[in-house]
């Protein structure tokens, strides 16, 4: 990059380098919280100075130098004068020592494990991962989650405090611990993806697009751990889901269900990439829930319509998912697949069984699934009542509008018939 570099390119480069710079700094100095602040400040300085002066020859070296200077300023103001000399001595040592090949990667990965430390609450893990590994600023993260910046700043500093208090060290989890820790990392990435996938479109440059960010981070993790089948599975799941994004909302922001989406607007590139990923890992035999969910998404994405979807295969995959990761939502989705294979009555029978599950009983999705299957079976009043019940119970505004609209549309077809009795 020479001449006047593009601000967006600089942003991407900075965020690519952020975890490497922070990892190197923490490995050298410890003090994760202070290092993280220093890296953010160095990035801010880069954003102001690089567009005018051009990107330095070694952007990473530049960031490391500036960040360690900031860190030392911090140390100086914090400690007594006699401590200052030590810090100066540390600063004088060259930072970019020859490293083992791959040390950057190990640092970045260690950093990710630290941000998703089990001592942190879910929201803290997410916020810290986006900031320290994703390189996003507090204001951007706050905008993405629609909370005030002060709230997000508080959440991040609490997260750092929790890391400090837990005594967690900047080191790779041991082999015993690693699968469980990686599972948390994947869960955090998936939560970030879902937050973005479900949120309304960002309203400007200040609101980062979270699902794109989750895909970027997962892609990066997949490069670091190419042999891990679940990492590949999660990346595939994200791509195959994100491929349908444009079709998922109408021009007015309304929700378009899978069956009514314009499949020609699905992103063929993302589908191809996702299908290739999941096809490569599934036969290898380390099957896990993300791979199976990706496989389900792939079957949907490769179908021309709901009618031509390979529902028996989807049902088989839900059976498998139910064994790997049983849960009420899996059972619910499986019931819908059963209905598509064996008819709505078979699905409705299963839903009746699920009603006794405390976790599902009042859940809008159970009512929405029942409404859908009742509609399939031709029971219009029943479907209308269930759509309305689901609309009352959802906590999502677009979903409530969709469900209410669906109920109104169906009730309208039956003009004059029991219109009053179906009202809430």
């Amino acid at each position: 990059m020479t001449g006047a570099p593009d601000a967006q390119d600089i942003g991407e480069l900075l965020r690519e380098l952020a975890p490497e710079v922070l990892g190197a700094l923490v490995r050298r100095y410890g003090r994760f919280g202070a290092c993280e602040d220093a890296v953010q400040e160095a990035m801010l300085e880069a954003v102001t100075s690089w567009p005018a002066r051009g990107v330095p020859g070694s952007p990473k070296g530049w960031l490391l130098t500036v960040a360690s200077r900031r860190l030392i300023d911090e140390v100086r103001s914090e400690h007594a004068r006699r401590r200052r000399e030590q810090a100066d001595a540390a600063a004088a040592a060259p930072l970019e020592q020859p490293q083992q090949p791959g040390a950057d990667h190990d640092d970045s990965l260690t950093l990710l494990f630290l941000c998703c430390h089990p001592a942190l609450s879910g929201p803290s893990q997410i916020a810290l991962t986006l900031r320290a590994v994703g390189g996003l600023g507090t204001a951007q993260i706050a905008a993405a989650f629609l909370v005030p910046e002060a709230t997000m700043a508080q959440r991040i500093s609490r997260a750092k405090e929790a890391i400090r208090a837990s005594g967690a060290r900047f080191e790779m989890p041991g082999p015993d611990e690693r699968p469980a820790r990686l599972a948390i990392v994947l869960h955090v990435l998936y939560l970030i993806f879902n937050e973005g996938y479900t949120a309304t479109a960002g309203t400007g440059l200040t609101t980062p697009e979270l699902s794109g960010e989750a895909i970027r981070l997962t892609r990066w993790l997949h490069r670091l751990l190419p042999a891990d089948a679940e990492v590949a599975g999660l990346l595939a799941l994200m791509l195959l889901t994100d491929a349908r994004r444009a079709a998922r909302t109408g021009p007015d922001g309304s929700l378009v269900p899978l069956g009514e989406q314009d499949r020609s607007t699905w992103d063929a590139g993302k589908i191809a990439e996702g299908v290739a990923l999941v096809s490569a890992v599934l036969p290898a035999g380390q099957v896990g829930p993300y791979q199976v969910q990706a496989a389900i998404a792939a079957v949907h994405d490769e179908a021309k319509s709901v009618g031509t979807t390979d529902w028996p295969q989807i049902l088989g995959l839900y059976d498998l998912l139910g064994q790997l990761a049983p849960g009420p939502m899996v059972s619910l989705n499986r019931a819908v697949a059963v209905a598509m294979v064996a008819g709505p009555e078979a699905g409705l029978d299963l839903l009746r069984e699920l009603e006794s599950d405390r976790r599902l009983a009042g859940h809008h999705r159970l009512h929405a699934a029942r409404a859908h299957l009742l509609e399939m079976s031709g029971d219009v009043p029943g479907a209308v009542a269930s759509y309305r019940e689901a609309a009352r119970r959802t906590t999502s505004l677009p979903e409530r509008r969709y469900l209410t609209g669906r109920a109104a549309g169906l009730a309208g077809q039956k003009t004059g018939q029991k219109k009053g009795s179906a009202a809430m």
Binding site: R158, T198, L255, T395
Partner: protein
């Protein structure tokens, strides 16, 4: 998820509190606010003016028309509300139950619809 906590009351009720009880109630409430601002879960807390200050605003032939009101039929009205952003309904219930006023009066807890569609 965002949640709204609400408490109800009226001027008479506040005035009837014994001398030292009111500042003490405020102090306990301030401590509650500080605690949950600290955790990043309290987005804001707001006290409403007395109902005597409330107005009704309409537009009549394109022009604003402001009148006194509303004339409430209930004895108690919305006094204060808190906006939370927390991980789950359970957590919101926990915070609501920690509200100092919850000793004597119920605290209303309402989930706020989020602007996005839920995950599939």
């Amino acid at each position: 998820m965002k949640y709204l906590l609400m408490i109800y009351g009226n001027q008479e009720k506040w005035e009837s509190m014994a001398g030292g009880a009111w500042p003490e109630a405020i102090a306990r409430q301030e401590a509650f606010n500080a605690k949950y601002r600290q955790t990043g879960e309290l987005l804001g807390s707001y006290g409403l003016a007395d109902a005597a200050q409330a107005k009704l605003v309409r537009r009549v032939k394109g022009l604003p028309a402001v009148t006194d009101g509303p004339y409430l039929e209930t004895k108690e009205y919305l006094a204060s509300f808190w906006l939370l952003d927390c991980a789950s309904q359970e957590r919101a219930e926990q915070i609501a139950a920690d509200m100092p006023f919850a000793d004597g009066e119920p605290v209303e807890l309402w989930p706020i619809l989020h602007e996005s569609a839920a995950d599939q």
